[in-house]
C-alpha cells in the first residue's frame, strides 16, 4: 500500500543523523519534526532567524515576535539562538545547515528540482528555496510520486521553471525511495505491497532498480 504523508515523514526521519542541523520546508517536510528519534540530537533551523526550533506554543505562550519561516507561531528550546537574515543564509549557503528537506512539484532524473513557479498562475516567490538547494550537499525531496492528475512528478526533464540544477540526492514519495545517480533514478526502497511495475509506470524519467531493493 502506498504511504500517507505521515508515513513518508516517518521514513525520512530515519535519514537524520545525530548532530544534524536541518532545514525543513513547508508540507510533508514539516511533519518530519514529529518523528525525530529520541536518541539523537537534531537541531532545526528556520531561515527567518532561529536555530533550535521548538514545538508550537501553548495558547498562553503565543508570541507574535516568534514565528517560523512558514509564519506559524513557535517556541524556542534550551540552546536556541536567534539571529538576522544575513546570518541565517550564511548558515545555509556556507553548508553549516547540513540537511535540507523540501517539497517539490517536479524532480528530473539528473536531480533538477522545480518547486516555486507555475507559468500562468500567480507566482508567490521562491523564498529561501533557491539558496537552500544550491548550498547543501544533502537535499532530500518529500513528495507524492504523481500529481493530482496522476502524472509522474519524476521526470526526464522538469517542465516547470526549475529552482535548482542537479541538486537533489534522494527522493521520498508515497510509493518509493529513490536516489539520483549518474544513470537517473535508482529505486532502492518501495512501499510494501506496491509493485515495481507500478513504480516504473509512474516514473517518467529513467529508472533503475537496485539489486538491494527492499520494502520501506
Amino acid at each position: 500500500m502506498s504511504l500517507n504523508k505521515f508515513q513518508i515523514a516517518q521514513r525520512i526521519s530515519r535519514e537524520l543523523r545525530d548532530g544534524d542541523y536541518v532545514n525543513l520546508g513547508i508540507g510533508i517536510p514539516t511533519l518530519v519534526a514529529n518523528y525525530i528519534p529520541k536518541n539523537i540530537n537534531v537541531v532545526l533551523q528556520s531561515e527567518n532567524g532561529l536555530l533550535g526550533m521548538g514545538p508550537f506554543p501553548k495558547l498562553s505562550e503565543v508570541d507574535p515576535d516568534l514565528i517560523n519561516a512558514g509564519k506559524q507561531t513557535i517556541t524556542t528550546l534550551e540552546g536556541s539562538v536567534l539571529f538576522d537574515s544575513a546570518e541565517s543564509f550564511s548558515m545555509i549557503r556556507g553548508g553549516h545547515v547540513n540537511m535540507t528537506i523540501l517539497g517539490a512539484m517536479e524532480v528530473s532524473e539528473n536531480g533538477d528540482i522545480a518547486n516555486w513557479k507555475i507559468p500562468g498562475k500567480m507566482v508567490k516567490g521562491m523564498g529561501g528555496a533557491m539558496d537552500l538547494v544550491s548550498s547543501s550537499d544533502n537535499i532530500i525531496v518529500a513528495m507524492m510520486h504523481t500529481n493530482k492528475k496522476g502524472d509522474s512528478k519524476l521526470l526526464k526533464k522538469c517542465q516547470l521553471p526549475i529552482t535548482g540544477k542537479k541538486c537533489i540526492k534522494k527522493i521520498f514519495t508515497n510509493l518509493a525511495v529513490l536516489e539520483v545517480t549518474e544513470k537517473g533514478f535508482l529505486l532502492t526502497e518501495k512501499a510494501e505491497g506496491v509493485s515495481v511495475e507500478e513504480i516504473i509506470q509512474k516514473t517518467e524519467g529513467k529508472i533503475e532498480i537496485s539489486k538491494a531493493l527492499k520494502d520501506i
Binding site: D63, T73, G125, M126
Partner: protein, 233 residues
C-alpha cells in the same frame, strides 16, 4: 547638539519623496515598522519601490500601501497571500521582482557594508540567472549579485536608545539589522526608547552609527498570520 530622536512617525518619514526606494524590515508581519507604514499611508507618497522580504497581507503591513496604490515596484522573495497585490500584478499596475531570500539578505548586507557586488550560488541554472554573470570558483558556478541602493530604510526594533543603538526580540530581528545599515537614511521605530547607557554595549544588535532617526512607536498590533498552538496539557 544633533539629536536622532524624533517625536513621531509622521516627522520621521516627512522627507520620503515620490519615487523613493525604501527598504522595509520584517518577515511576514513579524518585526514590521507598523507606525512608519501608517505614516506613509497618511502622507500618500507615491511610486515607491519597496524592498522587503514580503508584501504584507491585504489589510496590514505593506498591504496598506498597496491598497492605497502607493507602490510602483516590490522587490521581495515571497509575496504570499494578498488579493490586492495579485490584482495589481495581473493588471500590470505593479512591477514585481522576485529574489532568492538569501540573495535579498546579502544584497542588503552588501549595501550597508561597502561591498558593491558578490558571488552566490543561489539561482544558478534557473531563470534568476538570466542576464547575470555566471562564474566558476573551485569548480562550482555562482552568480554575480549587486548591492541594493535605498534612499530610506525603515526598520522596527524592540528597544533603542537615543544614540540609535537597537536590540530586537525573537524572530522579529530578521531583515531589520541588515536594512538598518543599508539605507542612505535609516528610520528606526522602537517599542521602547530608553536613555543612552541603559543597553549593554556587549549585547547591542544594531550599532547606532547606522541610524539617522529614531522614535518610540505606539499601539503595536503585531498581527499573527498563523496562530498555531498545541494542547495546554
Amino acid at each position: 547638539m544633533i539629536t536622532k530622536v524624533v517625536t513621531n512617525a509622521n516627522i520621521a518619514v516627512q522627507d520620503i519623496f515620490d519615487g523613493a526606494t525604501i527598504m522595509l524590515g520584517g518577515f511576514g508581519l513579524c518585526g514590521i515598522p507598523e507606525n512608519s507604514i501608517s505614516a506613509l499611508v497618511s502622507k500618500g507618497v507615491k511610486n515607491l519601490t519597496c524592498i522587503s522580504n514580503n508584501a504584507g497581507v491585504d489589510d496590514f503591513g505593506i498591504g496598506l500601501l498597496l491598497q492605497n496604490k502607493q507602490v510602483k515596484k516590490m522587490v521581495s522573495s515571497y509575496v504570499g497571500e494578498n488579493n490586492e497585490f495579485e490584482r495589481q500584478l495581473l493588471t500590470g499596475e505593479l512591477d514585481v521582482e522576485l529574489i532568492p531570500q538569501g540573495t535579498l539578505a546579502e544584497r542588503c548586507r552588501a549595501a550597508g557594508s561597502g561591498i558593491p557586488a558578490f558571488y552566490t550560488p543561489a539561482g544558478v541554472g534557473t531563470e534568476i540567472s538570466e542576464g547575470k554573470e555566471i562564474r566558476e570558483f573551485n569548480g562550482k558556478k555562482y552568480l554575480l549579485e549587486k548591492a541594493f541602493k535605498a534612499d530610506f530604510s525603515i526598520i522596527k526594533a524592540w528597544k533603542g536608545d537615543s544614540a540609535g543603538n537597537l536590540i530586537y526580540k525573537g524572530t522579529a530581528r530578521n531583515f531589520n539589522p541588515i536594512m538598518a545599515a543599508a539605507g542612505k537614511i535609516t528610520i528606526a521605530e522602537v517599542e521602547e526608547l530608553v536613555p543612552v547607557g541603559e543597553l549593554d554595549p556587549n549585547f547591542i544588535h544594531t550599532p547606532g552609527i547606522y541610524i539617522q532617526r529614531i522614535f518610540q512607536g505606539l499601539n503595536y498590533e503585531k498581527r499573527i498570520e498563523q496562530k498555531t498552538i498545541r494542547d495546554e496539557s
